[in-house]
Symmetry: C2
Subunit: 193 residues, 2 copies
């Protein structure tokens, strides 16, 4: 069973994904989580505390669903692993949609509100490093700076595609196809060295 604080963060991700960060009121979050506002303040101190922990929560959750593998399936090649991990961020599943919407909201809130910037920059950096490591498994001799640039582009593209998908302008299958195409051109770029 989820702990009380996890229960609050799950509710926060749901509320943010449904109405945005600016639609998040602590009273409403308390109702959604089925706890008192006092308990929320006890665990997270203030609104910024809630947002920072929600960011961490959705990152952990994305980490989980993008690295989940069927234990009976044959092992993936490095290239399949890379594609698999990135494409799992674009799925018509409630959890993924909610996670992407909440991430996009936290990113766009940071344009106006400096409180989240540092956490967001750190989370982005971790994500870029993970994708650079996956690219490095496909191209073990590519220089680190080249891998990092490709990873920065693929993750920023994924954010851009997610926003188009969630704002209704791009079907999820088309978004996946475009991302797959980007992986192909980036890998070809690494091939040329």
């Amino acid at each position: 069973m989820a702990s009380r604080s996890t229960q609050i963060l799950e509710a926060a991700a749901r509320v943010i994904a449904r109405r945005g960060v600016r639609g998040l009121r602590v009273e409403e979050l308390a109702a959604e989580a089925g706890v008192s506002t006092g308990l929320i303040y006890y665990h997270f101190k203030d609104r910024t505390g809630i947002l920072r922990h929600t960011l961490e929560f959705i990152n952990d959750r994305a980490e989980r669903y993008t690295t989940a593998r069927d234990p009976d399936a044959p092992p993936l090649s490095p290239r399949e692993e890379l594609e698999h991990t990135l494409l799992l961020e674009l799925q018509e599943k409630e959890e993924v949609r909610e996670n992407s919407a909440a991430w996009g909201e936290l990113r766009s809130t940071a344009v106006f509100d400096a409180a989240l910037r540092e956490d967001l920059a750190r989370a982005t950096l971790v994500w870029v490093r993970e994708v650079a490591a996956l690219l490095g498994r496909v191209h073990p001799r590519a220089p680190a700076v080249t891998l990092t640039s490709a990873a920065e582009r693929l993750t920023a593209l994924l954010e851009g595609l997610s926003m188009r998908w969630l704002s209704g302008g791009l079907p999820v299958d088309r978004a996946r196809e475009l991302l797959k195409g980007a992986i192909a051109v980036e890998l070809a770029g690494l091939d040329r060295g």
Copy 2:
């Protein structure tokens, strides 16, 4: 001199870029534009009308600053033209920053509010076609679908990079460098056919 309605839209773009769509109140917009709320309702009917016209306004303005060329400069090659047009969306200039922030806000608002979706999808399509046409000038024999996919990726990447830039996680020069790299890998992809 700008007409009254342009004056209102300039103020709307400023307010949205400063505090977000959800921070836009008509009274405040009236004060920022130096007009009455009645005049705003007269020109734009309601809040959705204001947002839709602001979207159009920032698109026209982006069109203007990305196609502006020094008349005395030597003509650009198709590839230079492509790079120039895309890179002008990432500049440390008040007008560009404001435009990008307002665009990102309208995009992220559309995740929660369907009213803007159609206009946004149409504006994105126009933008994708323009970039596909520029790519087609570099690669006149590339199939239209290939050019469109590359243009969708480059514009979605530009949106993703802009959000990172505006939310403080990515210096503008690095964002430009990454975009230039993406143009290079996409063009190399078209070279291979």
